[in-house]
C-alpha cells in the first residue's frame, strides 16, 4: 500500500494543480488548450466565492522520481438538479503514471463519495470520453451508470464568440 495522504488543496498547491491539469491535457494531446494560469486558479479557487474545490494526493518528495510531493488530484464543484437538488460534479481526476495501481484513485473516489453524502448531495455526475474504455470500466465497476446511453443526454456548448453575438442582438 503506497504511503500517501489525501487532503483538501490549499493556495500553495495551485502550481501543482496547474502542472497536473497540463499533464492530463497532454495525455489527451490538448496541452496548448490549457490557458488557465496560477493566478486564475488562485482567484477562482481560494477567493471569497470558490468556483471549484480540489483534493490533492501527496507523497514524501523523495518517493517521486521527479521530486514532486503532489502526485494526484481531483477537481469538483456542486451543481443543482431541479428534480432532486444538490449534486457533486467531478470535473477532473488524475494520478501521475508512476503512482497508478496503488489504490490512490479508489481512495480519492471514496473521499469524494463521503463529501457528497455529508453535503447531502443526491448523486455524483461526471463525463467520460466514449473511447476511454479503461476509465469507463473503472467507474462502471463502482456502480456508475452511463446516462448518455440510458437517457440519451448530449452535452452542448455555446462558446464565447457566439455568446457575444447573442448579446449584440
Amino acid at each position: 500500500m503506497a504511503n500517501f495522504v489525501l487532503r483538501p488543496a490549499q493556495p500553495k498547491d495551485v502550481s501543482d494543480i496547474l502542472r497536473l491539469i497540463k499533464e492530463l491535457a497532454k495525455f489527451e494531446e490538448m496541452e496548448e488548450k490549457v490557458v488557465l494560469t496560477e493566478k486564475d486558479l488562485l482567484e477562482d479557487g481560494f477567493g471569497e466565492h470558490p468556483f471549484y474545490h480540489c483534493l490533492v494526493a501527496e507523497v514524501p518528495r523523495d518517493h517521486c522520481s521527479q521530486g514532486f510531493s503532489v502526485i494526484g488530484f481531483a477537481m469538483y464543484y456542486f451543481t443543482y438538479d431541479p428534480w432532486i437538488g444538490k449534486l457533486l460534479y467531478l470535473e477532473d481526476f488524475y494520478v501521475m503514471q508512476e503512482f497508478r495501481g496503488l489504490g490512490i484513485g479508489s481512495q480519492i473516489l471514496k473521499v469524494l463519495s463521503e463529501i457528497a453524502v455529508k453535503t447531502r448531495c443526491s448523486s455524483m455526475h461526471f463525463i467520460v470520453a466514449e473511447n476511454n474504455k479503461q476509465s469507463i470500466e473503472f467507474y462502471k465497476r463502482r456502480g456508475a451508470a452511463d446516462l448518455s446511453s440510458q437517457e440519451g443526454w448530449r452535452l452542448f456548448e455555446i462558446q464565447k464568440e457566439d455568446l457575444l453575438k447573442m448579446t449584440a442582438k
Binding site: F78, D92, E157, D162
Partner: protein
C-alpha cells in the same frame, strides 16, 4: 405580449417549483420531482446559493396589476480546468401559451450577457438527443454538440453507489 426578465427572489420559489414540475410533466417525469419549496428556498437563497434563476413575467390578462410568472431559466457556475469559469444552463422553460413571442431568445440573450459580465468562457447544457426543436433552437445560435464532436458521455453515481463507496468494505 410585453414581458419582463428579472432575477428570482425568495417569493418566486412556488412559481419556480410549479414550472419545474410543468417541464417534468412534459417529459412524463413529474413524479420524479422530489424537491420541495423549502429545499429551493434554502439551496437558492441561503448563504451559499447552489443555483440562480431568471424569471420571465407578463402582465395579467385583464391588464391589471397582476404579474404572472410564465418562464424561467435555472443556472449555476461550473469550472473548466483548461479555461476557467463557465455558465451552466440547467433548466430552461417557457409556458406553452407564451411560446413564439421571443421570451426564450430574450432569456438566452440575458444569460449570454451575464456570462460575459462574469467572465465565463462559454455556456454549457445538455439536451435530450430526441428533442429536435431544442437541438435546432440552440444550433441556430451557434451551439455545438460536444457529445457528437468530442464523444463525451454523461455518467452518474447515484446515492446507493456513493454510500457503498463511502463505507469501508467488510473485512
Amino acid at each position: 405580449m410585453d414581458y419582463k426578465l428579472r432575477k428570482a427572489e425568495p417569493k418566486d420559489v412556488p412559481d419556480i417549483l410549479r414550472l419545474v414540475k410543468e417541464l417534468a410533466k412534459y417529459e412524463e417525469m413529474e413524479s420524479q420531482v422530489t424537491l420541495t419549496e423549502k429545499d429551493l428556498l434554502e439551496d437558492g437563497f441561503g448563504e451559499t446559493p447552489f443555483y440562480h434563476c431568471i424569471i420571465a413575467e407578463t402582465q395579467g390578462e385583464n391588464g391589471g396589476e397582476d404579474l404572472n410568472v410564465v418562464g424561467f431559466a435555472m443556472y449555476y457556475f461550473t469550472y473548466d480546468p483548461w479555461v476557467g469559469k463557465q455558465l451552466y444552463l440547467e433548466e430552461f422553460y417557457v409556458m406553452d401559451k407564451c411560446r413564439g413571442l421571443g421570451i426564450g431568445s430574450g432569456i438566452l440573450r440575458h444569460l449570454s450577457d451575464l456570462a460575459m459580465k462574469t467572465r465565463c468562457t462559454g455556456m454549457m447544457f445538455v439536451v435530450a438527443e430526441n428533442n429536435e426543436p431544442s437541438v435546432q433552437f440552440y444550433k441556430r445560435r451557434g451551439a455545438e454538440d460536444l457529445s457528437q464532436e468530442e464523444g463525451w458521455r454523461l455518467f452518474r453515481f447515484d446515492k446507493d453507489s456513493l454510500v457503498k463507496m463511502a463505507t469501508p468494505a467488510e473485512e
